[in-house]
């Protein structure tokens, strides 16, 4: 194909939308590499320490969209110490110099300072979209800078970030000339915003289609906002505290009736069950419904609502919905693709809200289901086998039995056979999270059948090194492996060291891996960073040359072209 003119090749590459496809074609020959790199507009960096920012900018000078991920996934559950790393500033600094035409920036699990946001705001005049997911380190001052300087901003999407509240004025910083917003999500902000400024902003942004408010926004304000944004497609409500006979509530119902384009609803903090009636008119059009922050809504109330949501594709709820509620979902929502059931009572003694029965009911009604996150108190092999038979399209299957290492309550057996059935039946499975009592056998099944598995999360599972080895040797497409509290040691770690260069990363904590094992791995594989992360309290002990026999509490291994990073804190040792 090298006799095709480059413009033609470039044109053909234009049809490749996935990063992976573009990465693959760039390895065919030098000519293709050059054409591809000059025409790449969207760059995805899955691990911010795998490559230096400068190298990315140099390779892709035409980059318009950049997406970078920082901390490992287990950071979400407080397993990664606070100052571990993942700083956004170096990326923004380098992009400001090398790629000032940047239009979209997406950051996930990174530390983003106000300084970074200010630099971002001033350096990229064409910035159209800023998406921050699970980030921390900034305050509303940084947001003020974005609002002030980013003319032409279309999307500001803040998902589940830890944002320090320095006052409500940031929203007022959007100038009167700003009319370009199409998507605004500040649901994660804890503080108040200027409601008047918000109402004026949404009124003048006529293309606004997605708006997610935070808890501080009252129902009165919501009613006024909705009156001005009848074309909204996605809405995250603020606090829904209202007496159901109050005038504001009546106005709200009226406003909802006018929003004929609404397809996605979330928020609903503090909502009283009676107020759910307000959205009945929208239910038949709903594609996405997130009620996972509304613990006051019990199963019986939810059921009345769900019965009308026959187009629903994505549902996030709390386990208060109960097995019976899930049965109603199964009979009403035939188009369901994604279901997430979160626990409402994490620490407590509460009644078992959902069990295997709920999941079986869902599987028999919603055969199109492809993504599941299910927190429950118990699961049986029989149920999992039934689910596997009913739903063969799972690409993401995450099951969390709240009690670690809990067996099948009916048979007292491990759940190997149940999960085995899932991996055998769901040939497109890309992501799997295990829980419950599990032996090495489940890993044998996974290694053998989960050919497309890319991400595997293991906790309190397995008997011996063999388990981990089955996975490393078997899953050809494995990219991320994260393990905690499982009996895998040095032998497993060192069995297939070449494997780690084909993966993005490996995390092991509270396992049987020793310092000596980590050192051996680092010595064999210079293009891996082997990070030993010590708990801050232990760092005094670590000073005095721990022996190689010492078990490592947390280890994070990732392939990299950048060598050891220079921003690691004291408690991280890079071997």
């Amino acid at each position: 194909m090298t006799y095709f003119p480059e413009e033609v090749v470039e044109h053909i590459f234009g049809f490749l939308s996935s990063h992976r496809d573009r990465n693959v074609v760039s390895t065919v020959c030098k000519a293709w590499y050059r054409v591809e790199r000059l025409s790449r507009r969207s760059v995805f960096v899955g691990n911010c320490y795998a490559v230096r920012p400068g190298r990315v900018m140099a390779r892709f000078p035409g980059m318009k969209c950049l997406s970078v991920k920082g901390k490992p996934h287990f950071a979400d559950f407080n397993l990664v110490p606070h100052d571990w790393g993942g700083f956004a500033l170096p990326w923004i600094e380098v992009a400001a110099r090398g790629c000032p035409g940047l239009e979209e920036l997406r950051l996930k699990r990174m530390v983003v300072s106000d300084e970074s946001l200010e630099l971002l705001a001033r350096s990229f005049p064409n910035l159209k979209a800023l998406v921050l997911v699970s980030c921390e380190g900034f305050s509303t001052d940084g947001l003020a800078a974005i609002a002030t300087h980013c003319r032409g901003l279309r999307e500001l999407d803040l998902q589940e970030n830890e944002v320090e509240d320095h006052g409500r004025q940031w929203l007022s910083c959007f100038p009167d000339s700003c009319t370009s917003l199409e998507s605004l999500n500040f649901a994660c902000l804890k503080g108040e915003v200027n409601a008047c400024a918000l109402e004026r902003l949404v009124a003048r942004c006529v293309n606004l289609r997605s708006l997610k408010l935070n808890r501080a926004i009252s129902v009165e304000s919501l009613a006024r906002i909705l009156a001005r944004t009848p074309h909204l497609v996605e809405l995250g409500t603020g606090s829904f505290t209202v007496e159901h006979r109050a005038e504001a509530y009546q106005r709200l119902i009226h406003a909802f009736r006018k929003c004929k384009s609404l397809k996605s609803l979330s928020g609903f903090w503090d909502i009283a069950p009676r107020c759910l009636q307000a959205i009945y008119s929208i239910c038949p059009n709903l594609i996405v419904l997130n009620l996972s922050y509304a613990p006051a809504i019990q199963g019986a109330d939810l059921v009345k609502l769900i019965r009308h949501c026959f187009k629903l594709q994505k549902l996030w709820v709390l386990d208060c919905i109960g097995d019976k509620g899930l049965a109603v979902v199964a009979s009403s929502c035939k188009e369901l693709l994604e279901l997430r059931v979160f626990p409402s009572d994490i620490y407590g003694t509460g009644t078992a809200a959902v069990t295997e029965e709920g999941l079986v009911a869902i599987s028999s009604g919603c055969s199109k289901l492809n993504s599941l996150l299910y927190f429950c108190h118990q699961m049986t092999n029989a149920a999992l086998i039934t689910v596997a038979k009913n739903c063969t399209h799972f690409t993401r299957f995450r099951l969390c039995i709240l009690d670690p290492g809990k067996p099948d309550p009916d048979t007292n057996q491990p759940l190997d056979e149940g999960f085995g059935a899932i991996v055998r039946s769901c040939k497109d499975l890309r992501r799997l999270s295990l829980s419950g009592l599990l032996t090495d056998k489940v890993f044998l099944y996974i290694g053998e059948y989960a050919a497309h598995l890319e991400m595997l999360s293991i906790a309190f599972a397995g008997d011996s090194d063999k388990g981990m080895v089955y996975v490393l040797n078997g899953c050809k497409n494995l990219r991320k492996l994260e393990i905690r509290d499982s009996p895998f040691g040095d032998a497993a770690l060192l069995e297939n060291v070449g494997k780690y260069e084909t993966m993005r990363s490996l995390w092991m904590s509270s396992c049987d891996v020793t310092l000596g094992g980590c050192k051996a791995l680092a010595a064999k594989m210079p293009r891996l960073n082997v990070e030993v992360i010590n708990d801050r309290d232990d760092s005094d002990e670590m000073e005095e040359n721990p022996s190689d026999m010492h078990k490592v509490e947390k280890m994070y291994v990732y392939r990299t072209l950048a060598g050891a990073r220079n921003d690691a804190p004291e408690f991280v040792e890079i071997l």
Partner: protein
């Protein structure tokens, strides 16, 4: 598998009411391969009895707690269950604020032919409550509702029956404390009410 010695168990830190038994903590050094020191029989028993008693959604909350020993709280393992801190904080804050499935109490008014029911959770404070009651009962009354506690000269006083069965004047204690102890409301006639008010 019992813990080694009663004395050890006494010194163990755990969640749960004193006197309840917690199952062994699944700590990171727990033995693996099924030789787990969890009282699995208890787990089974709990699970089975729980399933049989959940005959309807409405009963589930009350029935189980009355029916048998509530299972003791599980000890916490770091980072388990795998829920994002953002979500955990969000739910926890709600629990601290005392969210529940609504707190409906009967409201009676002296002389009115029928009672009403209101959800105490639906109000932010005493002012809103008084306004709502005013709204609800104005068809029965000729006078205004007291804006301040125990105002003499007004026709009615708002009182409530608390957990102990005592008749209390609305407004003395902080709102949160009030809604957690209020069992029913009673709008009292002026003459009886004056007796209450004059105590202050």
């Amino acid at each position: 598998m019992e813990a080694a010695g009663e004395s050890l168990r006494d010194t163990e830190l755990r969640l749960g009411l004193p006197g309840t038994d917690a199952p062994e903590k699944p700590a990171s050094t727990v033995t693996r391969g099924g030789k787990r020191a969890l009282p699995e029989d208890d787990e089974e028993g709990y699970a089975k009895s729980n399933k049989s008693s959940s005959s309807s959604e409405e009963e589930q909350g009350e029935g189980d707690l009355c029916g048998h020993e509530p299972p003791a709280a599980k000890a916490q393992v770091v980072g388990w269950p795998p829920i994002r801190s953002y979500r955990k904080n969000s739910l926890h804050a709600r629990k601290v604020e005392g969210e529940a499935a609504g707190l409906y109490v009967k409201v009676s008014m002296d002389g009115a032919p029928y009672l009403r029911k209101i959800d105490l959770k639906g109000y932010k404070g005493y002012k809103e409550l008084r306004e709502a009651l005013d709204d609800m009962f104005k068809c029965f009354s000729l006078g205004e509702f007291p804006r301040k506690e125990g105002c003499s000269g007004s026709e009615y006083a708002i009182t409530y029956e608390d957990k102990d069965g005592d008749l209390m004047l609305v407004g003395d204690v902080p709102w949160e404390m009030f809604i957690s102890s209020c069992r029913r409301l009673r709008i009292m006639n002026g003459s009886e009410a004056r007796g209450l008010g004059s105590r202050h």
